[in-house]
C-alpha cells in the first residue's frame, strides 16, 4: 500500500446554518482547496446521514462535485450513520493507498437544524433496531442512559465525573472559533446550584442536558494525497498512518457484556497496529463524546487507560489540555457540536491542526501522533484513524 497524507483541511462553524446542504458542504471544501493550493481532485467523497431524510437532497456528492466545479471527477456519497465522516476518510485512504488516485477530497456535511427537535430526534432514533428497540420509543439518549446506569453501578462513575467531561470540553471549545457552544460552565453551576434541575434537567436519567451534544449543522473537509503530491507542498507532512473499522450487534441488548464497546476496542487496535504505535504513544485524541459517558468509556476502550479507570484519569486531569493525553481539544461533540455526517471529518480536521501546530490557544505542545474515534449507532459501527506528523 502507498502512504497517504492529509494536505489540506477546511471547516465551517458547527452551529445553525441557513444555507442549502450542498452549499454548507462545498464551503469547507473551498477552504481546504485554497489551503492545499488547488490540487487536481480525482475523487470526491461526501459523508452525510440526513440529506434524504431531512433536507430533500439525494445524491449529495453529485450536487457538491458540480457546485465546486470539480466535474468530471468521481463523486460518492457515503451514509454510515454518525460514523459516516471517518468512513468516508477510510474510503479516500483506500483510493490513494491502492494507487488508483493521487488526490481525493473528503467532505462531511450535515444540516439537521432545518427540522425541529422532534423530527431530528426521530431521525437519529431510526438508527436503532426497528423491532427490538425503536417501537418502544428507544432513542440514542435512552440507550446512552441505560448504558451509563450500568457503568455507574459497575465502575463507580458518578454524575460529577460526567459533568467534569462537559466542563472540560466546554472550556476547550472557548478557544475554538468554529465550535457550536461558546459557553463556559462549572460543575457547581450545572450540578450543585439550586437552579441545576432547571438549567440542567434530566434527558435520559442519569444523563442530563449538559451530558448530551447539541444538534448542529456544519461541514468539514480533508484533502488526502499520495506522498508524491504531498512532498511538493510547503507544509508539515501529516500522514494518515492507520485506519480501523469494526462493527457490533445492531440491538444493544444482544451484547454479551453490556458495558463493553467491543467495536471501539477492535477498530482502535487496528488503527494503531497499522500505524505501528501503542496507545501510550498518542499525544492528542478526538473521541466521539456524543454523551459525556462515551468520552470516559472510549478513553478506556482505545487503551489510554485501564477498563474502569477512565473517570479516575479524568479526575487527575490527565485528559485536559495540559494533561498526559489531552482528549477533545476542539471541544468534542459535546461543545464543538455534532453535525452527524460531518463529525468524523471534523475530528480529523482538529488532529491535522494539532499536528501541524496550528491549533492556536488550544495547541498541545509537540503533538506528533494524533488519534480519532468516530462512533456510529450505539457502538455498532466504529471507525478509528491514526495520524502521524513526519519530520
Amino acid at each position: 500500500m502507498r502512504e497517504v497524507y492529509a494536505i489540506g483541511v477546511g471547516i465551517t462553524s458547527f452551529t445553525r446554518l441557513e444555507y442549502p446542504l450542498s452549499e454548507i458542504a462545498a464551503y469547507s471544501g473551498m477552504m481546504a482547496m485554497k489551503e492545499a493550493g488547488f490540487p487536481n481532485i480525482a475523487h470526491l467523497y461526501v459523508a452525510n446521514m440526513g440529506g434524504c431524510a431531512l433536507n430533500h437532497q439525494a445524491g449529495l456528492a453529485s450536487a457538491v462535485v458540480d457546485s465546486m466545479s470539480l466535474t468530471p471527477a468521481g463523486a460518492t456519497t457515503i451514509e454510515n450513520g454518525p460514523a459516516s465522516g471517518a468512513s468516508a476518510i477510510l474510503q479516500g485512504f483506500l483510493g490513494i493507498a491502492s494507487g488508483m488516485y493521487e488526490t481525493a477530497m473528503v467532505i462531511g456535511a450535515e444540516r439537521m437544524r432545518e427540522v425541529d427537535n422532534l423530527e431530528s430526534t426521530e431521525f437519529v432514533a431510526s438508527l436503532t433496531h426497528p423491532l427490538a428497540e425503536y417501537i418502544y420509543g428507544v432513542t440514542l439518549p435512552s440507550l446512552a442512559g441505560m448504558f451509563t446506569r450500568l457503568y455507574m453501578e459497575k465502575y463507580g462513575v458518578t454524575s460529577r465525573h460526567l459533568a467534569m467531561v462537559a466542563v472540560k470540553n466546554h472550556a476547550n471549545a472557548m478557544d475554538n472559533f468554529f465550535a457550536h457552544l461558546h459557553e463556559p460552565i462549572t460543575v457547581a453551576g450545572i450540578l450543585d446550584s439550586p437552579e441545576a434541575m432547571t438549567n440542567n434537567p434530566y434527558v435520559a436519567d442519569p444523563l442530563r442536558f449538559y451530558d448530551c451534544c447539541p444538534v448542529s449543522d456544519g461541514s468539514a473537509c480533508v484533502i488526502l494525497a499520495s506522498a508524491e503530491v504531498a512532498k511538493k507542498m510547503n507544509k508539515p507532512l501529516i500522514r494518515l498512518a492507520g485506519v480501523g473499522q469494526a462493527t457490533d450487534t445492531h440491538a444493544v441488548q444482544e451484547r454479551e457484556e453490556p458495558t463493553d464497546l467491543l467495536a471501539v476496542r477492535r477498530a482502535a487496535a487496528q488503527a494503531m497496529q497499522m500505524a505501528g504505535i501503542k496507545p501510550g504513544d498518542v499525544h492528542v485524541a478526538e473521541l466521539h463524546d456524543a454523551f459525556t459517558i462515551l468520552e470516559i468509556v472510549e478513553s478506556e476502550e482505545v487503551g489510554f487507560f485501564k477498563k474502569g479507570e477512565g473517570h479516575l484519569a479524568l479526575e487527575r486531569g490527565e485528559t485536559s489540555l495540559t494533561g498526559k493525553i489531552p482528549i477533545n481539544t476542539s471541544g468534542g461533540l459535546k461543545a464543538k457540536g455534532h453535525p452527524v455526517g460531518a463529525t468524523g471529518v471534523g475530528q480529523a480536521h482538529e488532529i491535522v491542526l494539532q499536528l501541524r501546530g496550528e491549533a492556536g490557544k488550544r495547541q498541545v505542545k509537540n503533538a506528533r501522533v494524533g488519534f480519532t474515534c468516530n462512533f456510529g449507532g450505539f457502538g455498532n459501527n466504529v471507525v478509528c484513524l491514526t495520524f502521524i506528523r513526519e519530520e
Partner: protein, 115 residues
C-alpha cells in the same frame, strides 16, 4: 389468545436468537427462515433502565421508562417499564401490549411490571 414475544431457534444448531436475524450467529449455515419460533418467557430481571424525558413525536406523555431485562432463559430484551421507582436487579413480569401508535399502525411489544 395469549400474545408472546418470539425467539428464533436455529434448526441446524439450536442457538436461540432475539431479535430475528437472517443468519444464525453461531453456526452461520442456516437457509432462509430455517428457525423454529419459540415463545420467550415474560419474567426476568431488570438489568438497567432510564427515564426518558425527550420523547419521539409518537409519545404524548411527559416521560417514558425504558429498560433492558434478562429473561428467565437468559435472552435479553429491551422494553417499556411501567414501574414507579424501578431499581437494577429487581424481578419484573412482562405483558404484551400496544407500545407505540404510528398513525394508523399499532405496534405491540413487551411492557414490564412489578412482580
Amino acid at each position: 389468545m395469549e400474545m408472546n414475544l418470539y425467539g428464533y431457534k436455529c434448526k441446524k444448531c439450536g442457538q436461540l436468537h432475539y431479535p430475528y436475524r437472517m443468519v444464525c450467529k453461531k453456526c452461520k449455515r442456516n437457509a432462509h427462515n430455517e428457525f423454529d419460533l419459540v415463545p420467550l418467557p415474560k419474567n426476568g430481571k431488570l438489568l438497567t433502565f432510564t427515564h426518558l424525558y425527550t420523547l419521539p413525536a409518537d409519545f404524548e406523555v411527559a416521560k417514558l421508562t425504558l429498560g433492558i431485562v434478562e429473561l428467565e432463559n437468559g435472552i435479553r430484551v429491551t422494553g417499556q417499564v411501567s414501574i414507579q421507582n424501578p431499581h437494577m436487579g429487581m424481578q419484573v413480569k412482562g405483558k404484551i401490549e400496544a407500545v407505540r401508535q404510528e398513525g394508523y399502525d399499532t405496534n405491540y411489544g413487551i411492557v414490564f411490571y412489578e412482580v
